[in-house]
């Protein structure tokens, strides 16, 4: 069974979010991701960006509103969003 490696965002950054509403913690499993770029292109608040290998990285974790667009549209099930209580 392939064990994924993950890029997690540090929890402390979330506390600096000024806006109200739900927040999410984004986790990317790089070894399941095939780099299609769909999550990066369609994230409504611009949380993600592509790195040099065309894999997504979390650049603005505080902007995630837990809308779950990315994890319902990832063909590889390589990204998940967990709702976070602040």
């Amino acid at each position: 069974m392939s064990e994924p490696s993950l890029i997690e965002q540090p929890k402390s950054e979330l506390k600096t979010t000024p806006k109200k509403g739900p927040r999410g913690q984004v986790t990317v499993f790089a070894n399941w991701c095939k780099g299609c770029g769909i999550c990066v292109a369609f994230c409504p608040t611009g949380v993600l960006a592509l790195d040099d290998d065309d894999h997504p990285v979390v650049v603005y974790p505080e902007k995630c509103t837990a809308c779950h667009w990315c994890d319902t549209h990832c063909p590889d099930l390589a990204i998940i969003v967990t709702k976070v209580e602040i």
């Binding site: 994924p4 319902t72 590889d76």
Partner: protein, 284 residues
């Protein structure tokens, strides 16, 4: 398997199967798989009560990844295998997973008869408008004028309207969505599985590797944008002229009625027969 995360989709994947999945980067089939799992999870079905029956092609490779009773059958015949399984185990939820060529080209006959019988099977057809696995030959849903490996001068055959055919043949639930509208899709799949009768969900998602490349539709992201911009809801489609409607993908529930389901009808038949024949059935 990232099992330390109690994320819905991961709860239903086979722990012994190798990932990442076999499809190309950005292929919509993976999105349909996620939608299917979410639908099954919301209904609260036991894994042992679910059977996935698939045909041949890229879409047919879906069931192996999921922790249910899964069978990958022959090209076009998934509904026939599913019919036998459903009759043997009427209390199981039997879901067939087919591509467009599998379901209505070679499988066309079984498609209309399963709908006609209204047997309790939920058919999910992933329509990528091409024969992807074999390298991009045209299928019965390839649009007119599109290029394909066996239509180098452009396709001249009109596409088959899968949903209309299912409705005409007798299906009791018919819906269409796209892989861009993944959340709407999983809602339709949930309704289809809950339905006690033959239900069809068509999930449109063009193949980026063959169809997209041969027809210069851009990257996978461009093609997702295309699905978003080129589709309309059923209600909005009614306000369009027929020419405008033809160019759009119409999304929504097309048909939702109640009719007697086949396995229940046969069960009633058995009761009638056995009631009328109390003599020892072993003796000829």
């Amino acid at each position: 398997m990232p099992t330390q995360f109690e994320h819905t989709e991961y709860m239903y994947l086979r722990p012994t199967k190798k990932f990442p999945n076999v499809w190309c980067a950005g292929c919509g089939i993976g999105i349909v798989m996620g939608a299917l799992i979410r639908a099954i999870d919301r209904i609260g079905l036991e894994k042992d009560d679910v059977a996935l029956v698939s045909g041949i092609g890229c879409t047919g490779r879906m069931p192996v990844y999921m922790d249910f009773n899964t069978i990958h059958t022959t090209h076009g015949r998934a509904l026939a295998f599913a019919t036998g399984l459903k009759i043997a185990k009427p209390n199981m939820k039997v879901i067939t997973i087919m591509g467009d060529g599998d379901a209505i080209a070679i499988g066309g006959n079984h498609f209309i008869h399963a709908a006609r019988r209204n047997i309790g099977i939920a058919a999910i057809v992933v329509n990528n408008a091409i024969y992807g696995m074999t390298g991009g030959q045209y299928s019965p849903t390839t649009p007119i004028g599109a290029k394909a490996a066996t239509a180098p001068y452009g396709n001249i055959e009109p596409p088959m309207p899968i949903c209309e055919v299912a409705k005409a043949a007798g299906a009791t639930y018919v819906a269409r969505s796209t892989v861009y509208h993944a959340v709407e899709l999983d809602r339709f799949i949930e309704q289809a599985i809950r339905k006690n009768g033959f239900s069809l969900v068509e999930a449109v998602g063009y193949c980026p590797t063959t169809y997209g490349k041969m027809n210069k539709l851009g990257t996978t992201v461009d093609m997702m944008r295309l699905l978003k911009e080129n589709s309309v809801s059923v209600t909005a489609a009614e306000k369009l002229s027929p020419e405008e409607r033809e160019k759009k993908i119409v999304r929504g529930v097309m048909h939702d009625v109640e009719k007697p389901e086949y396995t229940q009808l046969y069960e009633q038949l058995i009761q009638r027969v056995q009631h009328a024949q109390p003599a020892n059935p072993d003796k000829p």
